[in-house]
């Protein structure tokens, strides 16, 4: 029996050597709530990308920082909130690459947000500058159970 309507939270230092723990956490919860392997892999990668950005950009100039990951599950959807207290950025102005052009020009980097958007059903960014920044990603349960 799959249990939904629950909240899982992980609080973890902002370091790349914690990405594996973060992936294991989210894939464990995603498996538990009934996602298949393909969706589990997508969710895992999307969260890795979101956290990598927090580590490498939001906390770039800081010695230390923490990442808070909250997973809220209800009967329709799987919501991941990634919160940091580092630097904010203008998410809406971010230029999402056209992959054909990207590859033709042999560009490097700048694929994280593109991946997040491709892998999840919804990706949003909210910032209260100086307080916290939050990435919100949603995956809906479809044709499941």
């Amino acid at each position: 029996m799959v249990t939904r309507n629950a909240e899982y939270k992980l609080h973890i230092p902002s370091q790349t050597d914690n990405l594996e723990l973060i992936r294991n956490f989210v894939s464990g919860v995603a498996k538990k709530v009934g996602f298949g392997n393909e969706d589990i892999n997508k969710i895992e990668l999307a969260l890795d990308e979101a956290c990598t950005n927090v580590i490498e950009h939001a906390y770039r100039d800081l010695d230390k920082g923490d990442i808070d990951i909250a997973i809220k599950v209800d009967y329709q959807k799987f919501v991941i909130l990634v919160t940091d207290k580092g630097k904010s950025f203008p998410f809406k102005e971010l230029e999402i690459p056209d992959m054909k052009q990207y590859l033709a020009e042999l560009r490097v980097g700048g694929l994280g947000v593109y991946l997040m958007k491709s892998l999840m059903d919804e990706v949003e960014y909210h910032s209260e500058p100086g307080v916290k920044n939050e990435v919100r990603m949603v995956k809906y349960f479809l044709n499941k159970d």
Partner: protein, 116 residues
């Protein structure tokens, strides 16, 4: 900790890198170093065998993109072989098969270099 490993095998003019484990923002520098070493030795006919690679994120994909131009300019290439379905799906999602030769078997990638 051995979340990620790169092994290397030189066969004639071709060098094969075997990736194992998780290739993410934490481990990408190890892969980068292995490619840099090959470039420094002017061994630019490269096959990356990913049979034992269980995960790749954009940090790993970035390493491929970071070297491909230089390596091709030098007359070499990075060819990919033996990707698991999980890893292939990430390459595919981003359209990488347009830019990189991908082979089922390592041997096929090596042969391709020999053909010319």
């Amino acid at each position: 900790m051995s979340a990620f490993e790169v092994r290397r095998k030189d066969a004639d003019t071709v060098s094969v890198l075997y990736l194992k484990g998780y290739l993410d923002a934490h481990t990408a520098p190890d892969f980068e170093q292995a490619l840099q070493n090959l470039v420094d030795e002017n061994r630019v006919c490269i096959v990356v065998n990913m049979e034992e690679l269980s995960y790749i994120s954009s940090a790993g994909l970035g390493v491929f993109m970071g070297f491909i131009e230089d390596i091709r300019t030098k007359g070499g290439d990075i060819k990919l072989a033996e990707l698991t379905e999980k890893v292939y799906r990430v390459f595919d999602l981003l359209g990488f098969p347009v830019l990189y030769d991908i082979f089922e078997k390592e041997m096929e990638a090596i042969e391709k270099y020999k053909e010319g």
